[in-house]
């Protein structure tokens, strides 16, 4: 893997967001934002495999994968890596998967897919991560929320290993996470929805629901609250 350097405002993307955006045909918004930002949308090899290589072998999922392949071919998204990425991913996963314990057994909640995205951001010295997946986001932003959630869902007491939690927070504390929903709102603010001629607000609302139904972890309440503010 060729090591590349990127502008500090570049965004590392998880497959969950690219799948949501490709499924709802909003990859061009990414292209527009890239032009405004003058920075890159970056993915790891594992993310490429999850959202392009693997689905291209499945007839029902080929079309969105082709859209993403085109975005890759045209430089809208770029694949990057680093020599140390594998080790960094393994470290991050080991730590993340040893934060919560049930009956002295670690609850392994994270997997390579998300781990490599976060590790890539850290390896490249970038702070912006686009991720629609809920678990990793909550683990980074509110581990207590996640602990409480696991207890409720798994009907067992969950203990936090503070040593690993501290290490995880040291590693990921500097990351800023956002979802494709926020990206679409930003695209709207930069005029991407003008093509909907007079129906911009309605189109944005529809886009937010579309992205939610494609897997973005935004709640109905958040969408409703935002669209109310749009109409005011």
């Amino acid at each position: 893997m060729v090591e590349m350097s990127f502008q500090k405002n570049s965004i590392v993307c998880d497959s969950s967001s690219l799948i949501s955006l490709a499924d709802t045909c909003f990859l061009p918004a990414l292209a527009d934002l890239r032009r405004y930002l003058g920075a890159d949308f970056i993915i790891s090899e594992a993310v490429k495999y999850e959202c392009i290589d693997h689905p291209r072998k499945m007839k029902s999922h080929t079309l969105p994968a082709i859209r993403l392949q085109l975005a890759l071919n045209d430089g809208i998204i770029k694949v990057a890596g680093s020599q140390n990425l594998r080790r960094r991913t393994e470290d991050l996963l080991w730590i993340a998967n040893n934060i919560f314990f049930s009956h002295d057994q670690p609850v392994q909640i994270m997997h390579k897919g998300e781990g490599e995205t976060l590790a890539l951001a850290l390896e490249l010295g970038l702070t912006n991560v686009l991720i629609d997946e809920r678990t990793s986001r909550v683990l980074i932003e509110g581990p207590d929320v996640m602990c409480h959630h696991l207890e409720e869902e798994l009907h067992r007491s969950i203990r936090i290993n503070n040593k690993y939690l501290d290490r995880f927070q040291q590693m990921t504390g500097g990351l800023s996470l956002f979802r494709s929903s926020e990206l679409l709102i930003l695209a709207y603010e930069h005029g991407y929805f003008k093509k909907f001629k007079g129906l911009e607000k309605e189109a944005l609302e529809a886009a937010l629901y579309g992205i939610k139904f494609a897997g973005c972890s935004i709640s109905f309440e958040e969408i409703e609250e935002f669209t109310r503010s749009l109409k005011e």
Binding site: I19, P28, G38, Q105, H111, G113, V138, L186, C216, E225
Partner: protein, 198 residues
């Protein structure tokens, strides 16, 4: 890995439910099995989750079976579950693995009889089980890795549930937007060929 006791308990519960034609218990067994799979990171229990779920779906569709065929299928499945129980009791995990895969394969073979949806039942079962794991707090990729579901299917399925509404609020939308707006505060219109589409 799940203990032999856990496996036997799940297999016996599945057998009882199948014998009684108790679809609710089959689904309950599936839920218990997938939870153990997620905690123990083992394939052995996942197959019990998958089989129980698929059986509950297949057997619930009365139009799909004439009674004789249904009984014959259930009988064969029961015999194979018994074989699984014996294998686990003898700690012969190779035989166990082979037999559970055989049961899934038998269900796939039903597709030949009626190609409408059996394969679909397996894919849907995997997606449903993955969605349950995601709802419980396991990551998307972890849920996919455990169940073999497609990530896109899982996202589409979970996107239509209240998973994101129940847990996941850590920052407000406005807080996230604020940061993103700052990031885009000094736009640079790079050279481009106009709008990109795909």
């Amino acid at each position: 890995m799940a203990t032999g006791e856990q496996l036997l308990s799940l297999l016996r519960a599945m057998r009882r439910a199948l014998d009684d034609g108790d679809l609710a218990s089959l689904r309950k067994t599936s839920t218990s099995a997938v939870e153990i799979t997620a905690m123990d990171d083992g394939e052995d229990t996942f197959y019990i989750a998958l089989i129980s779920h698929m059986l509950s779906k297949l057997l619930s569709r009365s139009h799909y079976w004439d009674l004789k065929q249904k009984k014959r299928f259930a009988k064969t499945a029961l015999r194979k579950v018994d074989k699984c129980v014996t294998a686990v009791e003898k700690q012969d995990m190779q035989a166990y693995s082979k037999t559970v895969r055989d049961i899934v394969s038998d269900m796939r073979d039903l597709e030949v009889t009626d190609p409408r949806y059996v394969n679909d039942v397996e894919a849907k079962a995997r997606t449903k089980l993955a969605s349950r794991l995601y709802a419980q707090g396991f990551s998307l990729s972890r849920a996919v890795a455990i169940t073999g579901a497609s990530k896109r299917d899982l996202q589409a399925y979970s996107g239509r549930t209240l998973i994101a509404d129940r847990t996941g609020k850590t920052k407000t939308l406005e807080e996230r937007l604020k940061h993103l707006r700052e990031l885009f505060s000094s736009p640079i219109l790079a050279d481009g060929n106009g709008a990109w589409s795909c």
